[in-house]
Symmetry: C2
Subunit: 198 residues, 2 copies
């Protein structure tokens, strides 16, 4: 039996492709243990498949990991909606925060996997950080600067504001155990619902 600190919703009534099924199992494993700590046998156990079956669909551990990572980045890119200087700052920021919290709630494993990758020095995501993610931050920062110039919000460092929101929302996914324990609560959802506090 696999020690699943954060069990995925059961895929017993599974309908998608087997590759997808394996990717979900692998995501949970990599999220919990990181690339080096992950075990192909545990991925197989989580997916309830023989180990060679995993290797049939994904040539190597590295390739499986990259496939998981790619899917996560892809799904996050889809959620990167547009904001312009005409948007109302309060509305836009609240929408952004709610979206990030929803992401953390719907797929905390993805968030934890990303955190693991960052902690290890982003060996597989340096390119992503330096290209699409950076330009995304810069676009947002530009809008925030425009809001400031138009007197719509107080002066802040735009990048710092984005980091603050990013970190606070991601925190609930990555440090789920800590937050639940410190708040003495059992359910993840109620914790996130309460996370918007202004």
């Amino acid at each position: 039996m696999v020690n699943q600190a954060f069990p995925e919703p059961s895929t017993a009534t599974f309908t998608g492709s087997i590759k997808e099924h394996i990717l979900i199992a692998a995501k949970a494993e990599f999220a919990q243990y990181g690339f080096e700590g992950a075990r192909m046998q545990r991925v197989a156990d989580r997916a309830a498949l023989p180990k060679p079956n995993i290797h049939y669909h994904f040539k190597s551990k590295q390739q499986l990991y990259l496939a998981v990572l790619e899917r996560i980045i892809e799904s996050w890119n889809l959620a990167f909606d547009q904001v312009s200087q005409e948007s109302d700052p309060a509305d836009a920021l609240e929408a952004f925060i709610r979206q990030k919290l929803k992401q953390a709630q719907q797929d905390p494993a993805a968030s934890r996997l990303f955190a693991n990758e960052m902690i290890q020095g982003a060996p597989n995501l340096k390119q992503y950080l330096n290209s699409s993610m950076r330009s995304w931050v810069q676009d947002r920062a530009l809008v925030i600067n425009q809001w400031m110039a138009a007197g719509k919000i107080l002066d802040v460092d735009p990048e710092r504001l984005i980091f603050l929101i990013w970190s606070a929302t991601q925190h609930y996914a990555d440090f789920q155990v800590q937050a639940l324990s410190l708040l003495n609560r059992a359910e993840f959802e109620s914790m996130l619902t309460g996370a918007i506090f202004w």
Copy 2:
């Protein structure tokens, strides 16, 4: 040669005890790879010692890990200074934030190791979270509630405020690569100096 994504300050001019020397090397290894991903051989390489030497001083990987964890918790406890309802909220909160940022700056590996432990579901820190850490949060929350009752600060959920500060400060240590990359900066220190933005 060990791939040190976040090299520790060199201990070449090493003066402390060998156990301490090993603990520092082990902290870096466990912080980067987590318990399961860490390799005793790499710990030995980081410490520039033969592997059996590590096992002479620490019976097992598990015991070495616990020793590292214990040292971190201990050093953090020392920094948990007291705040009372007589304190000025602005001063007290700023002091708290500066202290947390200093911690993140002085020992980011410790912060990352803690993050790794949380991501894995705190298998070795459940006790700590449920006892001393929880009561620390509750003590602080009480003071914040008293501040609110006295009209010194606006109404907020005290635990959420603590989490917000915790997450934002910890973020700079754990996601160092991301933040440096997105800000297009090379030095960690200047990034932290700029982190206090109000």
